[in-house]
């Protein structure tokens, strides 16, 4: 099979990339080319009741990593560098694995259109990392409390035994409880990283494709939930600052920690239309019990394809049953072998 390669960007696209990334970033790429002629000013559309209109199908599928690579020393790639990075990453996604290896035990993403390069993905973000603060593009160090929590969680996992010992030991994504894309923060999920935003009076709804989670965000200045009411995706309240939707989320239940976070984490998301095909999405993580300072990342979204088919994860999640059945069979075989050895 021929490997898929990305279409090269045309001159207009390159100009658009430069403009969009500069707008999103609030700063110019370090190796920016001379500015293209100013395009006609784009005006954000409004809903019938006057809100900035964020509605539609969007994806945050991207090749930009959360943290900057150790071998990367700048905040932005040039367009040429960026195109090369994407081309190489897409080729890696489609490259061959060795038969008979663990990596080979999987269906082929490429055959099912699941490689990132086979669908819409963000092409106008030249960042070398999503993290923009700290400026080094890395998450800040853990506090002593954060380090202790990480150690405690690792010890608890060891105490509980193997993931195949009990369904409760399996990752929550495997059990179809919640997945990475749901957020907050909303992060690309590897595949099916799509969102459907719908606005009504006093609400913004975000349907997350993986795994059909729904965020309902009141924007009517109602009071937040009491501190003791904890939820998987927290309690979100939104308000408008100009054309930007600002969402503040607290009251997480701690069962879906983000990169080692505590249930006291506060996430502030900022979403705005940059142009007809781009949403700026920026989030700040404030969790003094985990990190030595708040940190901020930016992961823009681009137009995607709708409608979103319901990702009813429990419907076909035979994997849990198959995995546990396989493990129990291996247990029985081991016990029989041990008994036979004893009887001999």
């Amino acid at each position: 099979m021929k490997h898929r390669t990305l279409a090269s960007f045309g001159v207009l696209m390159i100009a658009a990339v430069s403009l969009a990334s500069a707008v999103i970033a609030g700063q110019s790429p370090s190796a920016a080319k001379p500015a293209a002629p100013a395009a006609k000013k784009w005006t954000a559309p409004r809903t019938p009741d006057g809100q900035p209109d964020l509605q539609g199908y969007w994806t945050n599928s991207t090749y930009v990593p959360l943290e900057r690579g150790n071998n990367v020393t700048k905040a932005f790639y040039t367009e040429e560098e960026f195109a090369k990075v994407i081309k190489e990453a897409a080729a890696r996604e489609a490259e061959q694995t060795e038969p008979g290896t663990i990596a080979d035990v999987h269906y082929d993403f490429t055959q099912f259109g699941l490689d990132r390069s086979q669908s819409a993905f963000v092409k106008n973000d030249l960042r070398t990392s999503m993290i923009i603060d700290p400026p080094n593009g890395k998450m800040p160090p853990l506090t002593p409390e954060g380090q202790k929590r990480a150690a405690d969680r690792a010890a608890e996992r060891r105490r509980a035994g193997a993931t195949t010992d009990a369904v409760q030991n399996m990752p929550i994504g495997t059990r179809c409880l919640i997945m990475a894309g749901s957020g907050p923060p909303m992060m690309n999920a590897g595949y099916n990283s799509n969102y459907h935003i719908v606005q009504g009076q006093g609400y913004v709804m975000i349907l997350v494709e993986m795994i059909h989670d729904v965020r309902i965000i009141p924007t009517d200045n109602r009071a937040a939930l009491p501190e003791n009411m904890r939820q998987w995706m927290g309690d979100s309240r939104g308000h408008w600052e100009g054309d930007t939707l600002v969402i503040e989320t607290t009251n997480l239940n701690g069962k879906n920690p983000y990169r080692g976070s505590s249930e006291k984490m506060k996430i502030t998301e900022r979403i705005a239309r940059v142009d007809a095909n781009t949403l700026s999405y920026k989030f700040t993580i404030d969790d003094p019990g985990t990190w030595t300072q708040p940190w901020t990342a930016e992961a823009p979204m681009t137009k995607s394809i709708g409608p979103i088919f319901e990702h009813a994860c429990h419907e076909g999640n035979y994997g849990v049953r198959n995995t546990l059945a396989g493990a129990r069979l291996e247990d029985r075989k081991a016990a029989e072998a041990a008994a036979k050895k004893t009887s001999n």
Binding site: M1, K2, Y57, R92, E93, A94, E95, Q96, T97, E98, P99, G100, I102, A103, D104, V105, H106, Y107, D108, F109, T110, Q111, F112, G113, L114, D115, S117, Q118, S119, A120, T164, M170, P171, T174, C176, A189, G190, Y191, N192, E209, I211, K303, S304, I305, E310, H311, A312, C313, E315, G316, N317, Y318, G319, N322, T323, A325, G326, A327, R328, L329
Partner: protein
């Protein structure tokens, strides 16, 4: 239609492609790397369900017995986005599936490669075939 089951080590020459993206679960816990299979049979059902689709194929054993295998494939969501439906694959079509059997020793497997009778790999991600350009919002209405 002539069908047969071949249980063999996966050898040199098979086209294998990588999986680099995130997986929903640890496939090596569910399927046995030491049990590679090549299943040749006819499609009797395709479950377009999440988190993974399932191909049901009837395979004739060397002794003539016909058995049904259930083979795991990818999430249908991306396929539906580019216009693939449950009718895109014809019931009765012949498939050769390079696979790994489930650790529970049932007739369950994960499909590493789905190959058509003409030797080409099944590529359900694009109606235009393996050389078609990737779907984008501009190309899919």
């Amino acid at each position: 239609m002539r069908t047969k089951l071949i249980i063999a080590a996966v050898g040199v020459g098979l086209v294998m492609t990588a999986v680099a993206a995130q997986a929903h679960h640890a496939f090596s816990s569910e399927f046995d790397v030491k049990k590679p299979l090549v299943l040749k049979g006819t499609l009797v059902k395709w479950e377009m369900i999440n988190p993974h689709s399932w191909f049901h194929i009837e395979v004739k054993n060397p002794n003539g017995e016909v058995v049904e295998w259930m083979v795991e494939g990818g999430s249908p969501n991306s396929l539906i986005r580019v216009g693939v439906t449950k009718y895109t694959l014809q019931i009765g079509m012949e498939l050769t599936i390079e696979a790994y059997q489930a650790k529970d020793a049932s007739n369950t497997a994960v499909g590493r490669n789905f190959v058509l009778p003409n030797g080409k790999r099944l590529f359900v991600g694009s109606a235009g075939g393996p050389d078609a350009p990737p779907a984008t919002p501009d190309t899919v209405k």
